[in-house]
Symmetry: C2
Subunit: 129 residues, 2 copies
DNA sequence: GTATTTGCAAAATCTTTGCAACCCT
DNA sequence: AGGGTTGCAAAGATTTTGCAAATAC
């Protein structure tokens, strides 16, 4: 990752301009509005680079696709199993802090996923998963 | 899910007899020792049923594969990004309890995933992700 | 006997990769 | 020139699905 191509710039700008947690395919669709002939492989390659360099976070919410997040500050993702929405949440204190002491485990950038049902869906009787 | 086939029994017995968090493919390999001509499709179909009925949990640790867990009691999964190991952990108090109040969000069966580096790997300089 | 489940194979989905051409310094 | 990056297409990997035959109750 030495050269900053306009493809990478465009991909970053797309990710940074949304507060959703987009998938590679969504990003691909959006970036093509800026660079029509960009290829999906390039999007995947750049996302891998950006993830590895810590510029974006990889979020797994259990839908079989990788989601990305431009917000690398500590927060939780509430992943609704009914509607698929991903809600950003913050807790007053870091609940995971004790893991280092208790298990010698070092959490990565503190973004965690909690699956369940959001306020809108929990009243409905939508079929889970 | 009305009929309890011997295939489903075998799949359940395989999952319940390990303390790892096996993938569909691993389960398939093991079940074939019991039922040699069982098909992978059957394994996937039964896992989907077992997951939906709450008999097993689906665990996403970010490696692109779905893992399953026979232990449905509240616990955390510490997923090591270096060696791939999944460690079962328990916290003294439920850190996610406040989510219901704060966000109106209902967590599913309380099994959460935290990604990071385990005690063995954190001292090594293994390449992340 | 009827509804569910299976085995098989094909298809679908998401992601990775080989390679020649291209861009940047 | 030379290393990194791209576009394209093919390949990989995991999971899902259509359908006739077999099984369960």
């Amino acid at each position: 990752m030495k050269n900053y191509s306009r493809q990478r710039e465009a991909i970053l700008s797309v990710i940074s301009s949304t507060d959703t947690h987009p998938t590679a395919d969504w990003i691909y669709t959006e970036v093509r509005k800026l660079i029509p002939n960009i290829s999906l492989g390039t999007v995947y390659r750049n996302l891998a680079d950006l993830r590895q360099s810590g510029m974006v976070l990889s979020v797994d919410v259990g839908d079989g696709k990788e989601h990305f997040d431009y917000d690398t500050s500590p927060h939780l993702h509430l992943s609704c199993k009914a509607c698929g929405k991903i809600i950003d949440a913050r807790l007053k204190s870091d609940p995971i802090a004790s893991l280092s002491e208790d298990y010698g485990f070092v959490p990565e950038i503190p973004v965690y996923v909690v699956r369940g049902y959001c306020a809108a869906c929990k009243s409905n009787s939508l079929n889970p998963q």
